[in-house]
Symmetry: C2
Subunit: 133 residues, 2 copies
Amino acid sequence: MCLTDKELSPVDYEHTCMIRGDGGRALRRILDQICNKWTLLVVATLDQGTLRFTDLHHQIPGISQRMLTLTLRNLERDGLITRTVHAEVPPRVEYALTATGKSLIPPALSLAKWAITHAPGIEAAREAHTQKN
Amino acid sequence: MCLTDKELSPVDYEHTCMIRGDGGRALRRILDQICNKWTLLVVATLDQGTLRFTDLHHQIPGISQRMLTLTLRNLERDGLITRTVHAEVPPRVEYALTATGKSLIPPALSLAKWAITHAPGIEAAREAHTQKN
DNA sequence: CAGGATCCCGTTAGATACTG
DNA sequence: CAGTATCTAACGGGATCCTG
């Protein structure tokens, strides 16, 4: 793919093709799943180790029970976390990252670093721009 | 922040705090802006260099004029791209990444690599899971 | 405790038509 | 060429109430 591109340095070539791929469809399928409001936060929180539903609910301020449930179900379906139900009363359900889930931490971290580094500049640009109008 | 956490290895400590931060709010403000359907793709495409509106429209299959316009306006507002209008007939408008915009490529690339690497496994887990129901 | 079921609303984004 | 305007459907996500 991208073999007909010309006048690109090798590094640009690699960049462009890696992200754009088949028009970006394959990438977007995964990214749409990861980049919603809560997924990255849940994964990051589970980086601590095994946690129960209520633990997660307390450690992620602002999330509703509904969204926590949905997010956990999706992560389980995609094989990023495990869900273990203990046959007790009251019930106890524990969530933990799988190997795939853990492998998401470093890339997520690099994005987080970028966001935190550039947040002030972006906010400034945003305000300067809205001032003009 | 996170200074009261205990029994975390230094690396886990760093991971958790970087991403979770103030409950993830600062991170999400930026991420919400980056992780929509088209932004990353537009930035990646502009990594080639300066491009015109129509060039982008052709190189990003599936994007509508409307969404391309909106995405470009947001990127310009946040200082990630420049928009140069040439006073000609017919009009010519050129878009290019700023330094901030270029700095987004490496983190985006690391996420892209993760997505591409784990896409097969995720798809498989997803199908295996839906088979069960 | 760990959700499931509903209702409701704002935002996102696609389609289409029009313009300086 | 490079947009703008308008309408609409779809989806994400919050609030609330209920349950094994």
